[in-house]
Symmetry: C2
Subunit: 542 residues, 2 copies
C-alpha cells in the first residue's frame, strides 16, 4: 500500500525558488574577480539564473547535457550553477588547479558543451580547448567593459548574454533522480573518475547538512563560503545557504589571510568553511597583524586532518569553535562531523581535544562501517583499523560512464579508500589512505601516524612514509624527510625522535633525505611518485 502524500520531486531548482520567495532580499556579497565588492540578492540571482537557462536553451543545451564551470566562488557562479541545473542539464565543476592534461581528459570525458569561466582562467582555456572538440562555446563571466580580447572560439560575454535573454523560464518538471552535477575526483591513482550527483542526492544532502549537529545554517547566519564550488560542491553551501536564507559571502579569487580576514570582519561573518591551509593563512595573518575575529562563531574545517594546534588557536586566541568534517567527492561531500556528544561537551576543553581532532560521527542518512580486506566487519573499539565503508542516498553508486566498474560491495557499501578507526563513542578517525598503508607481516602500519609525529621535529619541513619491499615482512616503512632550508641532521636523531611515540614494530627501517617531496594538485603528498622513485630501494634490514 502506498502513502497518499503529494508528489513533489526533490529537485534543486526548488531551493532557489524558495530562497527567492521567502528570503528574496537576503544578500549575496561577492569579492568580484574584476575587483570591486558586488552585492546582489537571492531574488536577483534567481532572475539572472533563469536568463542563463534561456541562453543555454537557445544554444541547444537540454536535459542531461553537461555544462562546465571553471570559476571561483562568486554570485555569478551560483547563477550559472542554478541556470544549468534548473533545466535538467548537468553542472560540471572543473578544478582549475588540475594539470592541463587532466583538464583536457576530464572535459573530453564529460563531453562538456559549454564552459562558463572566470576571467582568471581564460588563458588556461585558450591553451587547452583546441584539444576539447565537444566544447561549442565559452561564456566569460564578466561585463562587457571587462571582456578580454580572446582567441577562444565562440566566446560570449556573460552580462551580454544575460541582457539578451528573458528571465521567464520554467524550471524543474523532471524526475528527482535526474543528473544534476558532475565532479571528478582528483585521481591520485588511475584516471579521474566522475561522480554524477542527482537532484535528489543534492536536495537530501542539503537537508542533512542543515541539521543543527551538522552545519546547522540559519537565516540569521552570514556564511563565508571559502571552500570552492569546484571542491565537492563547496560542501553544499551553494544549496544550503539559499535553502535557509543565510546571507552568503563569496570570496572570489582571493583566499589569502588578509583578504579572508577583511571579509570576515567587514561582512560580519558568523560561520565559514575551508580546508586547513586557508585557516593556517588566516591565523598567521592575525598573529602578524594583531587582528581579531569579532563576529565569527564557528568554522567547519575539512579536506585534510585538522591539527590540534589549529583547534586550540581558534578557541583560545579568538573564541571561535572549530568543527571538523570528513567527506569526499563521492559523499556529496559530508560524511562525518566532529560535533560533540553531550558527554564530551561536558568535559573540560582540553580533554575534548582528542575527539575534536577526530573526523567525527555520521549524521542520519550516512552509515559507516569498517571492514578488513576480506570484507569482515571490524569492531568499533578505537583500535582496530580497517577500510572505511559508507552507505547512503548521498553516496556514489557508480562513476560516470561506468569507469571503475562495480564500486559497491555486496552489502552496497562504497569503499572510501581510507583506512580508519571508529571509537566506542562513534568517532571515526582516518588513519591512512588504504593504498598508503604499509602491510608488514600481515599487519597494517599507518603511514600518516608516523608522518604526523615526524613532522613535529623542529628540523623537518615535510615527512612521508612509504612501504618498501622487504624479503621477510613483504613491506617495511621508509621515512622520507625534507628538512628545512639550511638544516642538516642524521638518520638516528629522527628515529630517536619517534622512539616511544609509536609501536616498536612500526619503526621505519631506514631514513632518507630528499630535496623535495612531490605534491599533487590538491596539495597532498603524491606517494605514487615517491613509491615509484624508491621502488628499488634496498633497506638495510633486507
Amino acid at each position: 500500500m502506498q502513502g497518499l502524500m503529494q508528489h513533489w520531486p526533490l529537485t534543486v531548482d526548488k531551493i532557489l525558488d524558495h530562497a527567492r520567495h521567502w528570503h528574496g532580499n537576503r544578500e549575496v556579497v561577492t569579492r568580484s574577480v574584476e575587483g570591486p565588492m558586488v552585492t546582489t540578492t537571492y531574488a536577483e540571482i534567481h532572475e539572472r539564473a533563469r536568463r542563463v537557462s534561456n541562453a543555454l536553451k537557445s544554444w541547444g543545451v537540454g536535459t542531461g547535457d553537461r555544462v562546465a564551470t571553471i570559476a571561483w566562488n562568486t554570485g555569478r557562479h551560483i547563477e550559472a550553477w542554478y541556470g544549468i541545473m534548473g533545466i535538467g542539464a548537468v553542472c560540471h565543476t572543473l578544478n582549475p588547479r588540475l594539470f592541463p592534461e587532466q583538464l583536457i581528459y576530464i572535459i573530453n570525458h564529460a563531453e562538456d558543451k559549454v564552459i562558463f569561466t572566470d576571467l582568471t582562467f581564460v588563458p588556461l582555456l585558450e591553451a587547452i580547448l583546441d584539444k576539447c572538440p565537444s566544447v561549442e562555446r565559452v561564456v566569460v563571466m564578466t561585463d562587457e567593459a571587462s571582456m578580454p580580447q580572446t582567441k577562444l572560439p565562440r566566446a560570449e560575454c556573460y552580462e551580454h548574454v544575460l541582457a539578451e535573454n528573458s528571465a521567464e523560464c520554467d524550471w524543474g518538471g523532471f524526475d528527482e533522480n535526474t543528473a544534476c552535477g558532475l565532479c571528478y575526483t582528483s585521481g591520485t591513482t588511475g584516471d579521474p573518475k566522475g561522480v554524477l550527483y542527482s537532484h535528489r542526492s543534492n536536495f537530501l544532502h542539503t537537508l542533512i547538512t542543515l541539521q543543527n549537529d551538522v552545519m546547522g545554517a540559519s537565516s540569521r547566519d552570514t556564511i563565508l563560503a571559502i571552500v570552492p564550488m569546484f571542491h565537492a560542491n563547496a560542501w553544499g553551501l551553494a544549496f544550503s545557504a539559499p535553502a535557509v536564507g543565510a546571507r552568503l559571502i563569496m570570496p572570489g579569487a582571493r583566499m589569502d589571510g588578509a583578504a579572508i580576514h577583511e571579509l570576515l570582519e567587514t561582512e560580519k561573518v558568523t560561520y565559514s568553511a575551508a580546508v586547513p591551509t586557508v585557516w593556517q593563512g588566516l591565523l598567521q595573518h592575525l598573529r602578524q597583524s594583531g587582528g581579531q575575529l569579532t563576529t565569527l562563531k564557528k568554522v567547519l574545517i575539512g579536506g585534510s586532518a585538522v591539527p590540534a594546534a589549529m583547534i586550540r588557536a581558534f578557541h583560545d586566541e579568538f573564541g571561535v569553535e572549530v568543527v571538523q568534517g570528513w567527506g569526499m567527492t563521492e559523499t556529496s561531500p559530508v560524511g562525518t562531523i566532529s560535533n560533540l556528544t553531550p558527554e564530551l561537551a561536558a568535559l573540560p576543553y582540553e580533554e575534548q581535544i582528542p575527539w575534536r581532532t577526530k573526523q567525527g560521527r555520521p549524521p542520519i542518512g550516512i552509515h559507516l562501517t569498517l571492514k578488513d580486506d576480506e570484507g569482515k566487519v571490524l569492531p568499533q573499539d578505537g583500535v582496530a583499523f580497517g577500510r572505511l565503508m559508507v552507505r547512503g542516498p548521498t553516496v556514489a553508486g557508480s562513476y560516470f560512464k561506468g569507469v571503475g566498474g562495480q564500486i559497491l560491495d555486496d552489502e552496497g557499501y562504497f569503499d572510501t579508500g581510507d583506512v580508519a578507526t571508529i571509537d566506542p563513542t562513534g568517532y571515526m578517525a582516518i588513519t591512512d589512505r588504504a593504498k598508503d598503508v604499509i602491510k608488514s607481516g600481515g599487519e597494517w602500519i599507518s603511514s600518516i601516524d608516523i608522518e604526523n609525529i615526524a613532522v613535529g621535529h623542529d628540523k623537518v619541513a615535510l615527512a612521508a612514509v612509504i612501504g618498501v619491499a622487504h624479503p621477510k615482512w613483504d613491506e617495511r616503512p621508509l621515512l622520507v624527510l625534507k628538512l628545512h632550508e639550511g638544516v642538516s641532521g642524521d638518520k638516528q636523531e629522527f628515529l630517536d625522535f619517534l622512539q616511544g611515540k609509536i609501536a616498536k614494530w612500526w619503526m621505519p627501517d631506514d631514513v632518507v633525505f630528499v630535496d623535495d617531496i612531490p605534491l599533487g594538485a590538491t596539495g597532498k603528498i603524491d606517494k605514487k611518485i615517491l613509491r615509484e622513485r624508491f621502488k628499488d630501494y634496498r633497506l638495510p634490514t633486507a
Copy 2:
C-alpha cells in the same frame, strides 16, 4: 540522464537503526502509565521494537495492514510505532479524546487488525470493540503483574508478547512511498478523514524539522515530548529525536502543570513542544508554586494561536524562548514556524511580539500561497486574507480510501481550510477557519479577530462570533458571549469595547449572552453547533 548515487529508500526504520548504532546509550525516560519512571535507551527500544515486529508477523500482520495504537507518549509507544512501521505495516494513532462513535467509525474505516493500548484505555475499548469486527487482537502495553482482568477478546500482555518473540528481524526493504502512518483529522465538518503518511514523507518531514530554523534538535538536547503521538505524530518528535540522538522524555498520562514542571526540572529538559493549554497549566502552576525553569531554553507551541501574554510570560518571567508553529494533520504536521529573521531578531523584544504572535514562515520543502474563492493568488501584503494553500512532499495529496475526492487544486495545492494573511516579511497569520469567515456583501470578516478582542474584556469567559443570515449583506456577525460566573453586562458595553479596535463594518450587528459555548473534542469552540442554534436568529438590522 539519471544521477549515479546510491539507491537508499527513505524508510523510517533507518531512523531507529541509526539511533541504535550511533546513539545507542542515549536515554528515553518515561513516566509510565503504571506510575514509576522508567529509563530505557534507543538500543533497547530498537531491540524491543523488533520483538513487536515478530509478534505482528506471527499474527499474520504484513505490509499495508493497519495496526492501531491508543496510547500516551511512552517508550513502549515508540517501540510499537517502529515495530509496526519497520515491517511495512501502517501505524494508525487513535486519539482517545474522540467520542466513542468517532472511534468506532475510524477503527472500522481503517480496518485496524491489532490495537496496542495503554491500561488507561482498556475500559474505553471494552465499550466499543464489539462494534469493530476487523480488530483481531488487543495488546495491553503493560507488564504481566499489571495486566488487568478484561473482557476484551484476545487481549495480549505486551511484556509477555515481547518475551516470547525474537529480537532478530529484518526491517525495511520496501519502496519509500510505502504507507507508514495513518492519522484521522478530527473532522469538525463531515466524517473524519484519514491522512496516510508514507515512509518518504515522514523521513523528509524529519529532516525538514531538524533544521536550525525549524525545531533544530541536537544530540545535546533533552526533549520533553508533551504533544501526543496521536496528535499529528507528536509533531515528528518520535522521528526527529532518535534521528539526532536527543535524550527524550515521555510524560505518559500526566500533563498537568505540576507533573510537567517536575519532569522539566528533574530530567533537565532543554526543549519541549505542546499546545497552549498545557503551557497555560504550567505557567499557572509556576506562579502558584514559585517554581522556576532552570534548564528549559525553548518551547515550540502550536495547535492553536499563542497569546502574546504567554510569549511574554515565558520570556520575561522564566527566560524561555517561545517559538510558534503552525501545521495540521495533513501537513505531517509542520507547516510554518515563527523563528525570527535577522532583521526582526535585531529589534527590541517588545517590538518582535507582533511577529512572534504570527504563525511564521515555511521552511524549505513547504510552499504556501493565498488564494481567493476564484483561485486567484492574493498579494502577500499582510492585509489581504485568503484561503491558505500549501504544497510539498509532506502534505496530503488525498485522503485514505478516496474520502473527500480530489483535494488538490489545479496547481497541486492543498486547501488548508484556514484563512490567513502573509506579510511582506513572509510571516503567515491565521485569520480564521474558512468556514467561519463571515461573508458580508462580498467582503470577508474574520470571526477570530473579533473574538480575540472580545475575550480581552474583563467580564468575558468565552466569546464566539458567527455569521447570521442578513437580507441585504448575506451575512452579518453575531457576537455570542459567555460571561464569568456571577457577572452581568449589557450588549452596548461589549460593542463599545470593540469600537475603534476593528473596522466599522466588522462591528457585530448584535450580542447574545449564553450559559455555555459548545467545545469540540480538541477543545476548540464548535461553531457548527452554534450556527445551528442561531440559524433562525433575527438580527435587529435585518
